[in-house]
Amino acid sequence: MSSTIDQKVAVLLDDGKRSPLKKTMAWLLHLSLFAAILAVWGLSAYFLPEKHQYLFPSPKTTMTMLWESLPELLASTGASFLILGPGYVGAVFLGAFGGIVVGGSERLQQIFIPFARVVAPVPPTIYTPYAIALLPTFRTSAIFIVLLATFWPVFLNAVGGTLAVPEQHRDSAKALGLGRFEYLTKVAFPSALPYIFNGMHVGLGMAFIMLTVAELFGSTSGLGRFVQYYADYADFPRMVAGILYTGLVTFLSMTALGWFQRKVIFWPY
């Protein structure tokens, strides 16, 4: 199945049936690497000569900056999500819908799949300068780039998921006399959902990359812009805080998507 690693990690992190002692032990282990890195960071910042400390801020300095910049970071998050949201959601709808329609028709596959093979592997970052030049506002061009980056993984996975509908479901659909539309909506779509979510996970990663890259080019707000701005002014403590914060936002978004997936696909697959 497509998201094997995710499932294995979920099993690994599933504390449901263990004793409190084992749970505590497990959490200590989950956090141990974070603690170790924090310790190494703190110690190296402490022993670093004073003149380098500006480039390599201590955890404490960084946290202070993070706290100070929080209002600005939250505003940046809002700006970023105004791009990410429409681009990502639009791409998921288009990709899932298009993928299922194409996956359900041999003729459409003959038209679209060779094209997708050529266009999908093109790194979407390459479109960025042209999109910014072509489209009227920065926001529309950034949305377009995010959309493009998310579309392909969702689309290709939706096609794959529709082609991979298990034989017994195809047979049942035939035996029940389901028409083409009913087959696509009631059988192929739910059956392809695990694949579609796999594409959505890949797509979300791509969307964040594209978002931050696009913001480096020409935006006036946003998370990528925040980091770039303070790097330009050599305010490295703030910049590091921005990196950490962006990492956290990405992690939380991915976690939310995983939670959403478990809500939507409630049956074993």
Binding site: K174, A175, P268
Partner: protein
């Protein structure tokens, strides 16, 4: 063993499938089947099944019994020969020929009642969504699942899932019921319960449905069927046929205890043994035989 080594003449191979009349429900003429690029799965099958009959197709693995059932359903088409359903050539699936598969055929993302409602909306064209769901409840009650209609398949036991699958096929209203080892994955107690349920449904339907039931279990075939057609392997072919004499309603503990029942089992063994000897001569690989005896 020796007194039954030769099956009675009336049930001999030579007499089978010879008469094919127009009023038969399902009529199979010289059907062969092979997957593209593969060896033959079925060779030259002749069968006729009359309306209201309960026919069991008994065969070891490799005898193509499931393939034959899929041909009846129209899920596959014969490489040679023809299958007629009530005089019309079978050219694809139809809800007139409902099929129950061995396992996992309910859609896991739909509640039991929605699975069945899908079938209801095919047989009662133009009925509303809520009417279809009410009807679905009725079919589920028929198989004893009145209190599980809102459950999802993964919340049910194997036996309950198969009841649900049967309800879904019943809801299609098919006059022909095709069953592909539907109880093969169940424990013996559950299997017996579902066998009796199936006979009850079959008996009470009017007009009586025709049932073709695939199994590798000799006892199951003899308990359920009016007639048992035995398939041999390499390639799949009809190697024998038995008319089951037990009156209905059949009570398992009485039937399994009869001398006649043991004799019929022995006859079936003989058919299998004869086919195994043929396979030793004709086939490079001996398929398993006598499974379930």
């Amino acid at each position: 063993m020796s007194e039954v080594a030769n099956p009675p003449a009336s049930q001999d191979l030579k007499n089978r499938g010879a008469k094919v009349s127009a009023d038969d429900d399902l009529c199979v003429k010289g059907v062969s089947f092979a997957y593209p690029g593969g060896g033959p799965v079925l060779k030259n099958i002749d069968l006729s099944i009359s309306e209201g009959e309960f026919l069991c197709l008994l065969g070891a693995s490799g005898s193509g019994k499931t393939t034959l059932l899929r041909l009846f359903a129209g899920l596959e088409l014969p490489s040679e020969g023809k299958i007629f359903w009530r005089g019309k050539l079978v050219a694809g699936p139809s809800i007139e020929r409902g099929i129950v598969f061995q396992e996992y055929s309910l859609f896991p993302w739909l509640r039991l009642k929605d699975n069945v409602a899908l079938a209801v909306r095919k047989s009662f064209k133009g009925c509303s969504k809520s009417e279809a769901r009410d009807k679905a409840d009725e079919y589920l009650a028929m198989v004893g699942l009145w209190d599980a209609t809102r459950k999802y398949p993964h919340e049910l036991s194997g036996g309950m899932r198969q009841r649900g699958a049967i309800a879904r096929t019943l809801a299609l209203g098919s006059p022909l019921l095709l069953m592909d080892e539907p109880f093969g994955a169940l424990d013996p107690a559950n299997r017996l319960r579902l066998q009796e349920l199936l006979l009850e449904i079959w008996k009470s339907s009017s007009p009586r449905r025709t049932v073709i039931f695939v199994t590798h279990d000799v006892d199951e075939a003899l308990f359920l069927g009016d007639r048992v057609v035995i398939l041999g392997a390499c390639p799949g072919r009809v190697i024998g046929e038995i008319a089951v004499p037990f009156p209905r309603p059949r009570i398992p503990e009485q039937i399994f205890d009869q001398e006649e029942f043991r004799e019929l089992r022995a006859v079936i063994s003989t058919y299998y043994r004869r086919d195994a000897n043929r396979q030793i001569d004709e086939c490079s690989v001996l398929s398993s035989y006598g499974e379930g005896i």
